[in-house]
């Protein structure tokens, strides 16, 4: 598969994989879940697993099914929603089927943050580093998260609900399902009006130092 071949290329060339097209439902999904000036999120592949790969410094492996992550002589088993964080100079190997590799681009533009920092309630902090933090965003059906704010962030949906991927006739660019999203900074109040608990894994940038 050409998509797989591109997915294993160096990060410097990964933006070219945005041209990926899953022509039929039997083709594998794109190995690039998200790519912008801030992050590259790879699906079920780890193009940044080798420390010397260009542009690969801070990285997060997010398990979507049971996987094993090996770094040096230590090995960790991760279940859905669990993460392993790697810093510049770390190498690792991932065994297992479903995961995302979130690579923070070292030369990304300045982080955009809201006018006011208001910590969101009801979430669970998982990791707190100098440049970003990771938490599980939770909200039960019918529940409200009072007014709060976010900087720019990557959202990986762990609970999804029904979600259609589509192939159009005549062909249009594929509509990729929104399991991985990049969210801009903002202040908002939210309510879960669905019928399933909200459960998202969030990698959120910290505001730039003043």
């Amino acid at each position: 598969m050409i998509g797989r071949a591109l997915g294993t290329a160096a990060l410097a060339s990964l933006t070219t994989t945005m041209a990926w097209a899953q022509a039929t439902p039997s083709d594998p999904p794109s190995p690039v879940a998200l790519d912008n000036a801030y992050v590259h999120v790879a699906r079920d592949t780890a193009p940044c697993a080798v420390a010397t790969a260009p542009g690969c410094e801070d990285r997060v492996i997010v398990a979507i099914s049971d996987i094993e992550v090996t770094a040096g002589k230590s090995s960790r088993r991760l279940h859905k929603g669990q993460v392993a964080v790697f810093k510049k100079g770390d190498s690792y190997r991932v065994s297992g089927a479903q995961y995302f590799e979130v690579a923070i681009k070292p030369d990304h533009p300045a982080v955009k943050s809201p006018a006011e920092m208001i910590a969101p309630a009801k979430n669970q902090l998982i990791y707190d580093g100098p440049r970003f933090f990771i938490y599980e965003e939770k909200l039960a059906p019918g529940d409200i998260r009072p007014r709060h704010s976010h900087s720019q962030r990557v959202e990986i949906r762990l609970n999804i609900g029904p979600l259609l991927d589509q192939w159009f006739d005549p062909p249009k660019p594929p509509v990729l399902p929104s399991i991985v999203n990049f969210r801009e900074a903002g202040i908002h109040t939210t309510k879960n009006v669905g019928d399933m608990a909200l459960r998202n894994l969030i990698v959120e940038f910290k505001p730039e130092p003043k």
């Binding site: 409200i144 609970n159 609900g161 029904p162 259609l164 589509q166 903002g186 669905g194 909200l198």
Partner: protein
């Protein structure tokens, strides 16, 4: 938007030249308009003419132009009113029935079915005319109120869909379950 909480949901879930879908209110309950469909989102008992009717979530009742009805206050439902003077129905270049759905009602101008698709399952190439989609399984779905204020983002529980020929796969983790009111192609 205050910090006190979100405002009540918009009573108009969808409005265009073809339909108006009202949420938990029935502004077209009197006779004299066009066709209307009451879709229950929770169990509800209501008067359809002189008769008491009960519906479970996802069930519906179709009313013709001369029918009247009365829904109780506090009930969870949608009233789909078909506009009698709507523009011609747009249809796809090819009519291909979708597989795996359950037909529930077939009328002169529209039909109603429950659209179903299990996680991981594929619906082969098929087509649709214009239609109203009411999601019965939603998954997590956020309604949001922004600061500084923006128009609220209404959750996509009720959607208007244009004609299409497509193949779909449910890549989610809940079965797809939508109640669809689809226009029939215009008579030729």
């Amino acid at each position: 938007m205050s910090a006190d909480g979100p405002p009540p949901p918009n009573p108009v879930a969808l409005e265009n030249e073809y339909v108006r879908v009202s949420r938990d209110t029935a502004p077209f309950s009197a006779a004299g308009g066009g066709d209307r469909v009451i879709v229950a989102m929770a169990p509800v008992a209501f008067m359809a003419g002189d008769a008491l009717q009960s519906l479970e979530r996802g069930e519906f009742f179709v009313f013709g132009p001369g029918d009247i009805y009365k829904l109780p206050a506090g009930a969870a439902f949608f009233e789909v009113a078909i506009k009698p003077d709507h523009p011609p129905v747009k249809e796809p270049p090819e009519i291909i029935p979708p597989a795996k759905n359950m037909m529930l009602y077939e009328g002169e101008r529209f039909f109603i079915y429950e659209e179903r698709l299990d996680p991981g399952d594929v619906r082969p190439r098929h087509s649709h005319c214009q239609r109203v989609e009411i999601r019965l399984n939603n998954g997590p779905m956020l309604d949001q109120w922004f600061d500084a204020p923006r128009p609220p983002l209404q959750p996509g529980i009720v959607n208007w869909r244009e004609p299409v020929v497509h193949t779909v796969r449910n890549v989610g983790d809940l079965p797809l379950r939508n109640l669809i009111i689809e226009f029939k192609p215009e008579p030729t």
